[in-house]
Symmetry: D2
Subunit: 401 residues, 4 copies
């Protein structure tokens, strides 16, 4: 029975304690846990158990009270043949879904014996998408044309706010008397959302000051970025990295390792693609979100970006030789090797074990995660096809008989 | 410089060590960390620091090597007026995105002073969606009609595999010579994906044995569930819980707490809705994924379900009195209060502090998460509107000047 | 130079003349053409040339002034193996796009020699989708549950307005404090949109009078029908007829008639499916709208329903024998063999030449149109593959060199 | 009873007769009608009644056998304030749906009294979208980068095939080892699909001859145009004309002419927008397809393009003064004032009465159709709101009591 089930007045429910002097001290953290115990009767013992120094979480969390301990498993070695990641990697995956690590591990073995996974970062851009409102669409059109001629000034205003971000281009989308813009930036090794917000805000300041037509309303976000939301615009135009992972697996190898032939596996793609198309799904593959989420938690990514990162296009083909070409395209995989949560205690260790921490490493990390997803797609597709799917979860999962 | 950058032969890259006797011992975990150090030169010190007993992670992870320590903050109190969650709650949020907890906390204050958040679980169903292939669509039609008359037998076969799951109905979707079915189950306090897989597999066994027309091919998944993928079918037909959170915030309160009036806030909805519609976004709100992900990590949910759970529909209206009615509908929020990762060390504590651990608690948890999302939507929308958005990230975020 | 380019005042621009006594007389029609000549300087000579009696257009048009003469061509014979259409048919197609009839004709030959086209009407339903608004979503939930228990009364109220329409079921979709309903009717041989509107209005009258909770607002259309709009909900749940057309074409026949082998044709499907998926297209086939529009104009359908009817799912597979199975699923093909424009002069002749005019013929017509679409898909796919596409338009099209 | 219901052998079903010497003679047309009578027992009397000279249909139809007579009505005057169409216009609408002309006419009166409809052609482009396949995505990336540096040569190759078409830019979309390109052309006063096909084919010829990496497969269409299909890519990037029509209607005028106040009308938009979003609809307005189809048939457009043209975004706002701003954006309205069916007998008359026939008139026509759609949206929205919708169809429609 907990106290908050019986509200008598708001005064009964004080705010979470803050320490004005140093809110990231062990003391402040401990005070908050004790507060929770007092209010709810629950002791946060495990939450209090951590090696990360609260001081290092400044900028990553407010009202720090401890940590979630998310179990981590190791998969690999995975053979990656990217432009940045080349060689064999062990991949840390943090999850609570039984079978997941085992399944990805199996896919890594399969692709490793097939000669490795080719990975390509086909595009790279982060956005902020403001919207400008005018008296009517004719005014919006004048504005739009003017904007295209003012790109150099706008870029200068944007880039004055950052040493890393570069404004690549601005997309224009007209609807009603609204003009939506999408500012595309390169953001170095950071995911870069805040960098883009700040730079776009500055650019919009310049625009608002110089617009040849009156701007009736303005918002820094018109919901066309589409931040933390899966969307067709990002499927088309990339958000973060556009990663394509590919592998051609010999028929004999499929039979040996996952117990199914190339033709059978392939014949199932048409059912999966048609089902996904009819369902209005944003991904016609199997379970990209699993591999992405587990590596995101492990490596300190902003895990809420799974919303965008889970979008994908799976393509299978039977080669002339009867082998199975398979690929997954992740058009909006958002990753960082620097900034955000990447420097925290366990997160940094996980990046370092793949040689992915710090500057100049973000594309390498993107390639490794893309390859991981591919391994998992092949493994699950085979499991579904052979009927191992349910029995594996019986064996490895939590709900064992 | 790490070893795996210079592959010489596959033999150089041994598999991750396993302990055949007891793979969930501290020893097995330690062996794996040492293996990683030997292979990559990286020491996993922080990863090794945990209070969760490896033995308790069996069924949640394979190749356990430690934990990800994800910083946790506290938001609240949040006033929830659900059918199951009634009262004031403190919400644990695990994230590495600075500003997030502070922003949700602000939204909780706003909605608390507005009288609380009404939350409704409008629907509840988990799916597995097999596909059957026939000689032609006419055969598929015969099969489809037969199936409808055989529902009782099919249900019996499905429910024989579970003490909890109940088969509610089966949706039929015809395309080409494929018939896609969607088995809708209620799954008690578990998320229930594996329960559904097993029950559907048994049901399909019965179907395959009794079908009046030959089944040419069959797959337990035709990609219309759509597991770990955002989709229109789930937006329409619910996956997990369909949660609707609502709050009417007085104009004066908005001005006082978030510095903007109801009318201005409202006028921005039309831009956000139009932008989201044009972008082909699966959510026309602001950032539901943030609140969902942070509470999912804290409470031991399958975080990869953010892929489905992030879908949403935001609706704002100006009341006759000039106040702001706002709601968010999450049609595919997948949560559990039992099974999966909910019983792990920190995860259980976080559920318990909200009175949400164990049987009979899943809808209460769904309501609290739905309310949390609502609080965050209002706070961010106001921040964007007033221009606080960028400055807040400057203040709280990692990339401080 | 026409008069209306120089507006001086609204008084200059009188309304189109109407004859209060008999607005469907030849005189009234003639008066309107003369009015146009007076106002714009344009003589409507060809428009005046028609054999349809203006009196028979009452209920199909207002301000009748003549006709559009749309060129009509004949394709066929097409071999249809439907449940209702069985045998060989000549298909009238009204269009102004050169090459179209020739291309469909070629596809009809191909499928005829392949043994004919199997067609199935997999589902059949027409909708009206009202929306009810409540104080909050909890009230909406109470209403939704009550509605399910009141189905018999609601059906009685709906069916009291029509001798043909039958209310099959009501779908419920909850969002915010709105409850959207979709009333699914069978409508005999009419397309039935107006029949559904009237019956649903009556049903909603009953509902509003008996609702156990107050209805705050109500609209007869909440935009979930989705009338005259392509949508995922109709792709999933059928609007009008769900028609599936299929044909297995021998490899040798493909080579002989369209100059391409089965394997090459098949390998292109994966590119078309992936492109359509990425583009967010509502049809992953080639050009279903062409065949649908041309037969719709010829047979007096409501041509604006091309908006819904053009949606489709194309599926190709290579058989064990190396032949090409191909199908197209049209989930929202809206057709009538009775009512609307079907009884008009040329329109009725076109229906009669296929044995499709009048009662009991609508599914036969749906099957013929579905088969026509399939023939066109195969022909165009082959033309694109062999490079004949551009050269054919050079030969048959308007823009000849 | 018609002959083709009793197939005995394919030989029984001869092909439609053709006249090798002159297939567009009255004789050839007559022969075909007699053939149909002989085969099916149906006489095509009305079909034979036309004033269009069969010879003039060459390039628009094959196997010509007469015409469909589609009833035409007149709506207007409509006050248009476009960039190209300025003044009052009478609009010819060919349809068989009773009420349609009356409803549009009412909307034209409403907007005329409100001061006219502002229309803007915000963008203008026609596409062909080929796809290139490579050994892997890394090769595709090399190709993509090379292509960007070769734009001038590619444009030269494309434009060598046409005196009108201009290649504006090429969009790149990468997925798997496929690279999809979208060639955007301006096409003068023609709709231009065939012009684009021919030019893109020539451009691809140059590309294939010069590519620095081997092209494994190639198709002139990768289904990303998306020709004759509604899609998000065209909603975002325009196909044909991107037309925005707007009108601010005074509250008093709404009450007077359509019997509803601005606020009530506005409050319904949120329900329509939310319903359309949840349904996965490609248009969140009311019935754009109606006005588009009726004007398309009248003016000789390729009516199958209703598939793309029906897509739309409706936006309503309440002004400070309490009036109703409403707009509709049609992102893929495909029209021509020259070529195709525009020069045929009745079609040309209809274009001429609006001053829209021939060169330099296509944007004017696009604006008039856009304004027409807007008028219809307002009229139907008001009819639904006031309950006139069903009663109007009772009064004007075919299914009168």
């Amino acid at each position: 029975m907990i106290a908050n089930e019986n509200p008598v007045g708001a005064s009964q429910f004080p705010g979470v304690p803050r320490d004005e002097e140093d809110d990231y001290s062990f003391r402040a953290s401990s005070d908050r846990r004790e507060f929770i115990t007092a209010q709810t009767g629950t002791r946060l013992e495990h939450v209090s158990h951590h090696s990360v120094d609260p001081q290092t979480t400044r900028g990553n969390i407010e009202n720090f009270c401890g940590v979630a301990q998310v179990p981590m498993g190791l998969a690999g070695p995975m053979h990656v043949r990217g432009e940045h990641a080349q060689g064999h990697f062990y991949v840390p995956m943090a999850t609570t879904e039984g079978t997941l690590v085992a399944s990805y591990n199996r896919g890594m073995r399969l692709t490793r014996e097939a000669g490795g996974i080719i990975v390509t970062v086909a595009d790279d851009a982060m956005q902020r998408a403001p919207v400008f409102v005018f008296a009517d669409a004719q005014q919006a059109k004048v504005f739009s044309l003017w904007l295209k001629t003012s790109f150099d000034d706008i870029r200068a205003a944007a880039e004055a706010t950052t040493t890393v971000g570069k404004l690549r281009d601005i997309e224009h989308y007209a609807a009603a008397r609204f003009l939506y813009l999408r500012f595309n930036f390169s953001t170095g090794d950071a995911a870069g959302q805040n960098m883009c917000s700040k730079a776009t805000q500055a650019a919009c300041g310049w625009i608002l000051a110089h617009s040849p037509v009156p701007v009736v309303r303005f918002s820094l976000s018109g919901n066309m970025d589409t931040d933390k939301k899966p969307s067709h615009i990002n499927m088309l135009h990339t958000r973060g990295k556009r990663v394509i992972a590919e592998c051609t697996v010999p028929d004999a190898l499929l039979r040996k390792i996952v117990g199914i032939d190339a033709k059978s596996l392939y014949s199932r793609r048409i059912m999966s693609m048609t089902g996904a198309f009819m369902a209005g799904s944003m991904n016609n593959g199997a379970h990209a979100a699993n591999g992405i989420t587990a590596t995101f938690i492990a490596t300190g990514q902003d895990v809420a970006n799974v919303a965008e990162s889970c979008v994908g296009m799976a393509v299978g083909e039977l080669t002339e030789a009867g082998d199975y070409y398979f690929s997954i395209t992740l058009p909006s995989l958002i990753v960082a090797s620097y900034g955000g949560g990447t420097g925290l205690a366990t997160q940094r260790e996980c990046l370092e074990m793949m040689g992915c921490y710090g500057q100049g490493k973000v594309r390498k990390l993107a390639e490794i995660i893309g390859a991981t997803v591919l391994a998992g797609e092949l493994s699950l597709a085979a499991a579904v096809a052979t009927g191992d799917w349910v029995s594996s979860h019986e064996k490895y999962g939590r709900n064992r008989p």
